[in-house]
Structures are given as C-alpha cells and as structure tokens.
C-alpha cells in the first residue's frame, strides 16, 4: 500500500474551515465546524496531537468544500466518485489541507440513503492529514471506499486497527491507558455540545460542575494583559482592567488556554512573565508556558527548571517595584529573575518576612494600582507598592470586592439556607402559573 509520507513533528495543529458547503440545507456553518472538531477529536483523543480552531489563513489544516478541478491535481468529479481528499503531513504549504467535494449531498445523522455522512468522511480524511495511508482492512476507517455513516459523532469509537496504526506513528497519548481496546468506555470529559452551537452562544449548556464564584476559594489568580483571572477547578472568571466581570458565568480553562491537558482538574499558580509577557501555568511538579492562549512546544516541563522545591507551588507573582518573580510555597518564598532566568541567591526565605500574610497562600498577583494582592480561602490581603507588610483593614472578602457578590447573592442553584430570616424555607411563591418571581436588590 501507499507508504506514509510523513508525520507531524509538532504536536499542536491549528485548523480552520475556510469554505463551507454551498447548498447544504441541513448543515449550517456551526454544525460543519462542530463536526470537524469532533472528527479531529477522534484522533487527538488517542494520539499526542492537539487540534485547535483558528481564524485566518495560517491554519495547518485548511478545510475547503470545493468542486471539479480546483488546481491541486485531484479534481473532483460531481456527485459520487471521488468525494474528498487530504494532503499528508510535511513542509509544503498544502500539508494537512483537506478538501470535500461540494457536489456531494453532505449529511449528518441521516440514514445512509440520504447522502454522504460528513463526519465519517472527515474522520477518514483527517487520518490522511496526520499521516495514515489507505488500508485494505475491512473494518478500518481508512479503507478508501465510503462505508456509510459511522453513527453519532459523540459516541464514535475508532476501530482498534486504526488506533494501533496511529500509535505506531505518534505513540500513545498519555491520557490513554495501554489497556484501552475495543469496547472500553470513552473518557468522561464532557464534550462540547454538538448541534447546540447556534449563532447566539449563550444557549451553550452551563456545566453542572461549575463552581460558585461567591462561595469558592480559588486555585490561582493572575493579572494577564492587565486583566484579572480567577481560576477554580476547570473554570475561570475574567475581570477587565476596571474590575468588571466579563461574564457571571465562568469559562472553561480548556477551551481558552489550548494545550493544557484534557484531564486537568485545577491549577496551583499562574503569572504573566515580565519581558516576553508569556503566561506560565503551574500544576503539581509541572509548568506550561503559553504565548497568548496557545501552549509553546516542549511543555510541560518540571518546575525544577526554576530551582523550586519538588513539592509544588502555592503562589507566583511579579512584584511591580522590582520586576522580580516571587514564588510562595508553605512558609517559604523564593525570588526569581525572569530576565536572567535564574533564582536569586539566598533563597528560600521565611514567608513571615511578609508581615501579616498567612502561610499556604492560594495565589498572589500584581494589580494596576501598583500594589500586590495575596489570596487565601475567601479572603485577600493587600501590600502597597514596595512595602512588605499588609495594609491595615485587611483581610477583606474576595467575593465582595472582586467578584460582585452581595451578602445575599449566590450563584449556586440551590438557595435553601441562603435566606436565614425565613429559617431556610423558600419565601412564598407569588408567581401565578408557576413562573418564578425574582427581584434585583442592587
């Protein structure tokens, strides 16, 4: 059979749907993008490859719906016949590009007779785009002939034969156990909502496990590009420079910061590095460096790069008054020079030198007022400018000063016990025909 051309040396690949089916009444743009996302995810679930959608013409994998001769030496031929193709990995500009014949009746979740299942063909073509060739194995998705729909994209399980071939090319993704074989249940991460990607995104389902910003302590806090980010579990809240919440609903870390492991359940510390303004994320004994919201190649790396202790990290922030990076862990702190990329001599020192701060911080950050803020549990402390002593009047409540929570407000869905004056019972329901009545107290 065809010998594999090449494989990708990089692990983070960008993709973009450049042109969409012209006549497909069934497949709107968002559905086509969602199908491409899931078709790529079939491969990234088991191989150490990460795909992220981008705008603009720089995508590694440009996806087009085109017809007849489109100048790449592989003319399409109207309905039937050849339906799609993709270019193998390599250095050429077209490497990874994938073309679908726009004369086909592309369908999704339709019976076999209604047309060509776009998800099934996309999985096949993206197999080529990462380096797999055609095979004669009857049950393989890489057979050259269209074999009909392969079922629900959210439940599709790659044939074991194809998993083995991609593992031979790239190795196993570290989140996949070697014992995984046919019939094992897929991982439990909640996939993005398919078909629920309408134009107004606000209808995306609110994940049940999202934390409550008014009652939760935070894993990590950072000032990034002048804005404040509060990280909790798999989510984060973002505040503008004027300390306005961008949204009451948290966003998923995974969807914004591309390249963090899929099974990441929380962070230890985050800071924006002085000089190159890259963002550094810490979790356990590893750290990742991000340029904007894409992880750099070669990460994660061990935190021993910084000369830090092996136990991990509580807090990291850059002190505005000397542009040095301070790391806290337990009752100690370190001072690191991010310009020279080395730890300053004489550290660690006792954290009690920072008078008034508690040990075992959750995190710390600089802020645009030139002060440094330290967070632990539901409270925060402020240290002015070049002081090393907490300002009078602290600690204060994070929820109240930063996250726009009033005493009585809570975002948690169950409000029992939230109204002590009525002993925890709901206030009488004044609504007719069952609609809730709500009032805005501020």
């Amino acid at each position: 059979s065809l010998k594999p051309q090449n494989k990708w040396t990089k692990r983070h690949l960008s993709w973009r749907v450049r042109t969409f089916p012209k006549e497909s009444a069934l497949l709107g743009r968002d559905t086509v993008r969602a199908l491409m996302h899931y078709a790529l995810k079939v491969w990234s679930d088991i191989a150490p490859l990460n795909f992220h959608e981008v705008a603009g013409s720089e995508a590694d994998i440009q996806i087009d719906f085109t017809k007849a001769d489109h100048d790449d030496g592989y003319p399409f031929d109207g309905p039937g016949g050849t339906v799609a193709h993709a270019f193998f990995p390599g250095e050429r500009f077209t490497a990874g590009d994938t073309h679908f014949d726009d004369d086909e009746a592309w369908t999704f979740r339709s019976p076999d007779t209604h047309g060509m299942d776009l998800f099934a063909v996309a999985v096949h073509e993206f197999g080529h785009a990462i380096g797999l060739v055609h095979t004669s194995a009857l049950e393989s998705i890489m057979r050259p002939y269209y074999q009909g729909p392969v079922g629900d994209p959210l439940k599709y399980d790659l044939p074991y034969e194809d998993k083995v071939r991609v593992w031979q090319l790239y190795g196993v993704r570290d989140s996949v156990s070697h014992t995984q074989g046919p019939g094992n249940p897929p991982d439990t991460e909640e996939p993005p909502v398919l078909l629920d990607l309408p134009d107004n995104r606000s209808t995306v389902l609110y994940a049940r496990d999202a934390p409550d910003r008014c009652t939760s302590p935070f894993d990590a806090v950072a000032q990034i590009r002048g804005e404040a980010f509060f990280f909790k579990g798999r989510y984060f809240w973002r505040l503008t420079r004027e300390k306005h919440l961008v949204s009451l609903r948290p966003a998923q870390i995974q969807r914004f910061w591309r390249g963090l492991p899929a099974n990441l359940d929380g962070l230890d510390a985050v800071y924006e590095r002085p000089g190159d303004h890259k963002i550094v994320f810490f979790k356990g004994l590893k750290y990742w460096v991000f340029k904007d919201n894409n992880v750099e190649e070669g990460y994660p790396r061990p935190i021993s790069d910084f000369g830090l202790p092996v136990e991990g990290l509580d807090a990291a922030f850059v002190w505005p008054h000397n542009d040095k990076t301070y790391f806290f862990q337990g009752a100690h702190y370190w001072r690191y020079d991010d310009h020279l990329r080395r730890m300053d001599p004489g550290y660690p020192k006792d954290a009690s030198l920072w008078k008034g701060l508690p040990p075992n911080l959750d995190d710390a950050m600089r802020w645009s007022d030139g002060s440094s803020y330290f967070f632990k549990g539901k409270e925060y402390w402020r240290v002015l400018a070049s002081d090393m002593e907490v300002e009078a009047g602290f600690p204060r409540l994070i929820a109240k000063d930063w996250l726009h929570c009033t005493e009585m407000q809570s975002d948690s869905p169950n409000v029992e016990g939230k109204f002590p004056e009525d002993g925890g019972r709901h206030l009488p329901d004044h609504a007719e025909n069952g609609y809730e009545v709500c009032s805005c107290t501020s």
């Binding site: 016949g81 080529h128 055609h134 009857l138």
Partner: protein
Amino acid sequence: APSLATGQLDIGVDWLSKFGYLPPPDPVTGQLQTQEALTNAIKAMQKFGGLTETGVLDQATLGLMQTPRCSLPDVSEPDGTTGRSRR
C-alpha cells in the same frame, strides 16, 4: 473474460491508473498497458478491496469502482514502475 464494452474497459483502466494500480499510459510513446499488467492491476485492486482476485473486470469489481471513495491513490508505486512522484 465476459465481453466488456470498450467504454467500460477504458473507465476501468482510467480508474486503475488514477488510484495507483496501473502506471498512466506514457504520454510520449503512447504505449498502452499490456494485458498482463492490466490483469495484475485488477488483481491488486480486488485484493485491496476485499474482492475475489479474478483478474477481470467482473460485476463486483466494476461495482466497487463505482463506490464513492477518497481521491488519494491506494498504491504509491505499482509493481514494476519507478520514479513516480509521491504526493
């Protein structure tokens, strides 16, 4: 072989050439494929497609040739040919 319309044969040869089972006819000499090369190409395609290797363009083979499929070739260098550029 059952009698094939010339058109069908042409379609078959084109198909085999397009997907790598037969070298394209040499544009300079106009040399066509030999019967033996054609038979071997058909057998290779039948084997790859999971059909019985008859070496002739029977109904099952023609049917598979009409099945929608990926544009990429199945074979990079048919037996006995060299120097075909890879994509």
